[in-house]
Amino acid sequence: MINRSLMLKLLSGLIVFGAWEIAGRVPISYAFPTFLESMAALARMTFDGTIFVAYGETLRPLVVGVAISAVFGIGIGLWIGLSKQFEWLFSPIFIVMQAAPLAALIPILVMIYGIGLTSKVFVVCIMAMPVIVLNTASAVRNTPVSLKEMATSFLAADRDVLLKIILPAASPVIFSGLRLGVSAGFIGAILSELKITPTGVGDIITYSRSIADYPSMYAAIFSIILLAVLFLNLLEKLENILFEGNNRGYVSD
């Protein structure tokens, strides 16, 4: 049966890329290159190294931003999950941040921090933190009462309960929050490159557009999507391996 699933995936890829190729040949727009043209451009950029340099630039604020968001986000999330006062005080902030279109803040951030790495890191952070915080807080708060009671009944101190029960039990949801955070951070990184200053991959996109080199532009975009999808899938597989038992639900059916 793996064959069938694989075949259907290949088939669907073929259909979509085939449609792309055809649409490019029609052409539905002068600005719509064919699939093959775009792939050729991508190959060219890979072999002459431009794409790697570009990603080096683009990924920097992403990595830094996600790292900061993860550390602070999990920390704040833990605190919110554990303390009712802290939850009352801080969770509305993050709920609002989650629902709001934070992209609107970009001009302000640019004004405060200029157009360099700092403001890009900030953009990644404001996009990634809310989901990490809220997921962590929710995971902590939803620790099965039964497990906490069990630990207390065996004389666990509060610290034991936190380290041996709450954290391990919350890990799967925290990890998936991180995954969502990375995904949101990606959007932040790309947005800041298209809006603040073009560097890295964003630069390839804007520059190729301005000189009407559409294959390169599409190639760059294709590569971003490919990279994001591959990386997030990798994280998901990792999540499944690490938390194999937990994904079946808590052992209290």
Binding site: M150, T152, S153, A157, E244, Y250, D253
Partner: protein, 265 residues
Amino acid sequence: MSQIKPDARQAIPATDSAVSVRNVSKVYGDVQALKDLTLDFPRGELTSLLGPSGCGKTTLLKIIAGLLPATSGEVLINGRAVTGPGPDRSFVFQDFALMPWATVLRNVAFGLELRGVAKSEREAVAEKYIAAVGLAGFEQKYPHQLSGGMRQRVGLARALSVKAEVLLLDEPFSAVDEQTRRKFQEDMLELVQNEKKTFIFVTHSIEEAVYVSDQIAILLPRPSRVSEIIRPASFRDKGVANIRRDPEYLDIVDRIWASLRNYVE
């Protein structure tokens, strides 16, 4: 009447109760879960708390365990008042409460781990009890790889490993299938014989209570009170296979049902 027995085991001096509940009340907001409950649990025996839902039996068990505070009244273990969980009691949970990220070995050794026992020592103890409950060979498995019955045996092994005097069981067999449940009840009889502990067992199954118990306390709801204490006598030593057809067993079961059926919602 089964309560009057010439059996030596029945002649319990009033002072040898391992656990004494004295005038315990528990109020949640407007709801009075327990009102002025007094009950004794004889040392070395298995006492069941039996009753329909809402009669407060799990609440009482958790108060004895120290997991819930009583609103008034006190619980004495060997004469000393309960203020929280203690090394003299251990608990077996209805939904097993196993840590899904830990192996069977670590789960069973968890009580000892929390008490600071050294790793090699606690693992040795854990291995012993894992074998005692019939799970030898499964030490490195994870809970999700086990059946429901096996998971509960892990919970039982964990409770036994800490060698507490009083073992509290909260509907321990209600989350497993019927056949496994029957086997557990038979194993329970053997356990009570071999371990010199006091067992307090909450159940809503009449047959189960009459089968395993030395003493059955029947609780009725609204207000929660002990309505009757029954001490089955004649069939306790008959061997696991014969109990369910014993006339006294059947009589007691019928009697209890007759008095409880009005409380079914």
